[in-house]
Amino acid sequence: MRGTTGSGPFRAALVMLFAFTLALPASAVPLAYRLKVGSTYTYEVVQRSTGEAASNEVRSSHPQERTTKLEILVLAFRDGVYVLDILSGDRRVRRYMRPNGAVVASPTEPAGTLPFFAVFPEGDVVTGKPVKQTAMFPLGKGTVPAVWETTLTGLDGSKKKATVTVSGSVALPSDRVISRTLQSKGTMVLNLETGCPDRADWTVSYELTYANKEIAVIRDLWSVRETRSTSCKLTGVKP
């Protein structure tokens, strides 16, 4: 009896707390780059890749690693577009980029080879709600759909740093004989105060399984796997 009277208010308090939690709006912030014109942002980039090929018990693996410096010069901000010079080793690329990360032009990169970039969703972004963006990739004689899914996965207590997760995939044609998968996953920690990413990491994984089929006989022949990971860390901002 004592137990019952004691647990009544406690249970009610729990239910109210739960209802209150549900009623609270999820954290929402606008996501955008806010770069300083005339500044140079420097990143240390570590890239690793592994290529593997296998046929029956024979396996071959080729790991690679490279550490480079990436410099981003913010030349101007005009009509809502940043003019950036991106330097890495001998490579110098000029990109015209909107604050949401959409590259509108890149004179030094041919249109066909320009990567498919993930962009930040417009307006206030709610944590945990993924936003999709699609594109068509040319593949052989046709095209295949590609998808980026961008999610604000976390905000620190002071709402100064946002963690953005991206997940991409390309629907490569597959069947019982030739199976291919291509996907990419990454995270960026965006400093909302400085308007530039503190760090970003992403990994692209590809797998091809190649078999032969003749009437009802299917035999695996070989498989190829590739994994490329990149890690960028902000090392300095000048001035």
Partner: protein, 267 residues
């Protein structure tokens, strides 16, 4: 009158031309390993085509953030290792077929008998036998030797290379390690599972698996009149490099013939 005659002549010539069948260009016989190597090369080409296309898609997905425009690492190209292994097979298989052909031609013992019967030195000296002060054997020996060497050269047999076919077969696959030999065996198995009616590849697979018996190699050597002190004591095993068995094996009682059907297919 002349015009009508001309017309008739042209018609007759045309009819004659049509009646004579056009000469068909001589077709090169397909090598027994060709169906297998063509299949393997075709698969390589298809895989390379797929990878070339897919790598363009990989490149486009390799930079999620437009701000961080890092150049990507070049593709590792691990599949090139597999192609390098396959290249060893493309070199080795024609050699193995050539050895099998030699074994077929000279390993049956028929050639040896004909060869011995035809030795001209013996025949030339027969009438002189019994002639005093004439040593027929001394004259017959160099004559027979000359004949033998000339004949071997004319049929494309190299005395040093083909004296021991087992050794030649071993030499030809020296660069292929045990794992890669097993892989070739698995490739052949896959090919035969897909195309079970390919008798030539079946025969080639059988030859590589069972190899050549000592007596066959010796039979070939003796048929060619080549002394081979080094004739292999072991059966050539393609698939496995197993340590010698401690248990005594039955003596090699093979009379020196290869499976006739197998080599008829590899001809």
């Amino acid at each position: 009158m002349i015009r009508a005659f001309r017309k008739q002549l042209v018609t007759a010539l045309l009819a004659l031309l049509l009646a004579v069948p056009a000469p068909v260009p001589a077709q090169q016989p397909v090598s027994p390993e060709a169906p297998f190597t063509t299949w393997l090369m075709n698969n390589e080409a298809r895989t390379m085509g797929i990878l070339a296309n897919d790598r363009m898609a990989i490149e486009r997905l390799s930079q999620p953030f437009g701000l961080l425009g890092t150049p990507t690492l070049p593709p590792a190209g691990a599949e090139l290792d597999l192609w390098a292994i396959n290249l060893q097979y493309y070199k080795f298989l024609p050699e193995a077929v050539e050895i099998a052909r030699l074994a077929r031609r000279f390993g049956s013992g028929v050639f040896a008998r004909v060869f011995d019967q035809a030795l001209p030195g013996t025949w030339v000296t027969v009438p002189m036998m019994g002639v005093p002060t004439f040593n027929a054997r001394e004259l017959a020996y160099p004559l027979n030797n000359l004949f033998r060497e000339a004949l071997l050269a004319s049929i494309g047999v190299d005395k040093n290379r083909d004296a021991d076919l087992s050794e030649r077969l071993k030499r030809s696959q020296q660069g292929i390690n045990a794992d890669h030999r097993r892989l070739l065996s698995q490739y052949l198995e896959t090919f035969l599972a897909l195309y079970p009616n390919s008798r030539q590849v079946q025969a080639l697979d059988g030859f590589l698996r069972n190899g050549m018996k000592k007596s066959t190699a010796q039979g070939v050597a003796s048929a060619l009149g080549l002394n081979t002190g080094s004739a292999s004591d072991t059966v050539f095993e393609f698939e496995n490099e197993t340590p010698p068995d401690a248990t005594p094996k039955p003596a090699d009682t093979d009379p020196g013939t290869m499976p006739a059907d197998l080599f008829d297919i590899l001809k």
